[in-house]
Amino acid sequence: MQIPSELRYSKDHEWAKADGAVVRIGITDYAQDALGDVVFVDVPKIGAQVSAGGVLGEVESTKSVSEIYAPVSGTVSAVNDTLKNAPESVNADPYGAGWICEITTTSLDDFNSLLDAQGYQALTNN
């Protein structure tokens, strides 16, 4: 299972990557493996206000429908439209082509309180 060291992680199995005030979000390799084949991703709308821990969207697999939680507060500034026709990218490339959206934050406090790769590794080992 891959846990890239340069990313940060939430306890709900989302990853986050900050580029200035813009934080890109997706679900982890562990999450996609547990969900199984992803068949639909409900991405948020651009401009939507989200708060850390709030519901950002949904991932539907052949097993279940699971909510995606926002790891940081802010405004949705970009979404991955390619997931509409290729939801399988979430399984094939969760940290790359399977990204879900970008949130522009006013503060990186939420981001800085996320787990690092080591912390997330420990979480998934439990």
Partner: protein, 503 residues
């Protein structure tokens, strides 16, 4: 054990493996399922009989088939189905437990099924007595005060229950916004809460698979309208702290909703009303031998405590002081939740089931359901260990993580291979809190011989996982339809109508 289990429902269907076309593909323009004699009545254009504004502007693309082709189509499909009448069905009451045939005889009685629902109360006193009697018996079984028989099935019962919850709070001028749900809940619970206009707050389970009491207490507040609970819960475990949970929720003015999906486990042993619940829905198909909501028609009566009685849907069959029966609307009724009086023939079946069993018989139903589930849990512990290793109720949630880690065989592969072995698959991947979950619910009707046959089948699959795992990824092969690509079907949805046009 010397006797053999009932014959297995394995291998090929009666008439081969060929794909059955859909009705759309069989359709021929202009073909009819009827042929009328010459009547001498002149043809009249539809527009002369019905004003144009009431007519559909476009033709509706309907299937056109002869009766003969249609009957052949459904008969061929029916011969390829696995059903609870055909063989062991470890989905149990989760879907539909075995329906004894005397219930069919009751439903076929013309004295019941030839009565029009619009008949005045004076002319259908027997039917009204039947409905009142069923309501009374369901209240005795659940420990509640009154019930509505209108809701069409479990999920309709849930929504009715939430509307009752809302009516109760609003009548007191108390506007609340949140409903609590454990993370092991049935998926219908959060859906019903949302439809009922409330927000969901999820309560985590503790390491014993039960509601985490500390998290529950932390989530409670004056904005909580209530909590929805299943007891035993979806992991098949009894919520042992239910009395503490009830008093904590009542303390903040919230109501307790009992999701009756697992009522089969506790008949005659403990009652939701005595645990402190205010609203209880019952899936009659899961407990009292009626058809399932999806295959239907279903019935999902909702029983309530005294303080909620005035809000029940109406009109309700009621026994007047004279002893006669009449339709009456509760004083602050939320209104109708179904046309006429609910799916009444289904209600008649449930009353027949309750009356034939009696109080002691229903208690034995629950005892045998729990015994069967525990026997199977223990019998399979080396192959598919239980997610929570202790006494369960009517169902046991096992996990395929051992097979997955050792041989790459998932719960889904085990479930599919069971079809080749002549058994229906159990519920898989639910509840969501258990990894590689396989939920077995044998119910009270399966014999020890059949349970042993099921256990041997699971063990054969585990051996195949070791010797030939690839064959399990392809299973089932002996069924009319082999392994389907569920992900592809969901990702690239093509309706059968479109498929026919493309062909």
């Amino acid at each position: 054990m010397t006797s053999a289990p009932g014959g297995r429902a394995a291998s090929a269907p009666l008439l081969g493996h060929e794909t059955e076309p859909t009705m759309f593909e069989m359709s021929v323009p202009g073909r009819h399922a009827y042929q009328l004699r010459t009547t001498q009545v002149p043809a009249v254009a539809l527009e002369e009989l019905v004003p144009r504004k009431h007519l559909n502007a476009h033709d509706v693309d309907l299937v056109e088939l002869s009766e003969r082709d249609l009957v052949g189509h459904f008969t061929r499909l029916s011969h390829r189905q696995f059903s609870v009448d055909l063989g062991m069905y470890p989905l149990g009451s989760c879907t539909m437990k075995y329906n004894p045939k005397f219930c069919d005889a009751v439903a076929a009685d013309p004295g019941l099924n030839s009565v029009h629902p619009g008949v005045p109360a004076e002319l259908c006193q027997g039917w009204l007595e039947l409905l009142v009697t069923l309501e009374e018996k369901l209240c005795v079984i659940t420990g509640m005060s009154a019930a509505t028989l209108q809701p069409a099935a479990g999920a309709a019962g849930e929504l009715t229950g939430l509307l009752l919850m809302r009516a109760y709070h609003e009548a007191r001028g108390d506007l609340r916004t949140r409903v609590l749900i454990p993370d092991s809940a049935h998926g219908t619970n959060p859906a019903s809460v949302t439809l009922g206009g409330y927000e969901v707050t999820t309560i985590p389970s503790n390491e014993r698979g039960l509601v985490d009491l500390a998290s529950l207490k932390a989530a409670l507040g004056p904005d909580v309208a209530g909590i929805m609970l299943t007891n035993p819960n979806t992991v098949g475990l009894f919520e042992e702290e239910i009395v503490e949970i009830a008093s904590a929720v009542h303390e903040v003015g919230g109501l307790l909703y009992y999701d009756g999906a697992n009522l089969n486990a506790i008949l005659g042993a403990v009652r939701p009303g005595d645990m402190g619940f205010d609203i209880v829905h019952m899936n009659l198909h899961k407990t009292f031998a009626t058809p399932h909501g999806g295959g239907g028609p279903g019935a999902g009566p909702v029983a309530v405590s005294l303080r909620l009685e005035e809000f029940l849907p109406g009109p309700k069959a009621t026994r007047a002081s004279s002893g006669a029966y009449e339709w009456r609307r509760p004083s602050r009724s939320i209104g109708r939740v179904h046309g006429w009086h609910g799916n009444a023939m289904v209600l008649a079946r449930a009353l027949a089931y309750i009356d034939v069993h009696g109080a002691d018989g229903l208690t034995r139903v629950a005892q045998h359901a729990v015994l069967n589930a525990n026997w199977l849990r223990k019998r399979l512990e080396d192959t598919l260990p239980a997610a929570y290793d202790r006494m369960c109720m009517h169902e046991c949630v096992l996990t395929a993580t051992k097979l997955k880690d050792q041989y790459g065989i998932r719960g889904l592969d085990v479930a599919k291979a069971l079809l080749e072995e002549g058994f229906h698959s159990p519920t898989v991947y639910f509840p969501l809190i258990v990894e590689e979950a396989l939920m077995f619910e044998p119910t009270e009707t399966e014999s020890p011989q059949t349970l042993e046959a099921l256990a041997l089948a699971v063990e054969r699959i585990a051996l195949r996982a070791q010797s030939n795992p690839e064959s399990l990824h392809r299973a089932p092969q002996s069924t009319p339809v082999s392994r389907v690509d569920e992900a592809r079907a969901a990702r690239h949805l093509i309706s059968t109508e479109d498929a026919a046009q493309r062909a």
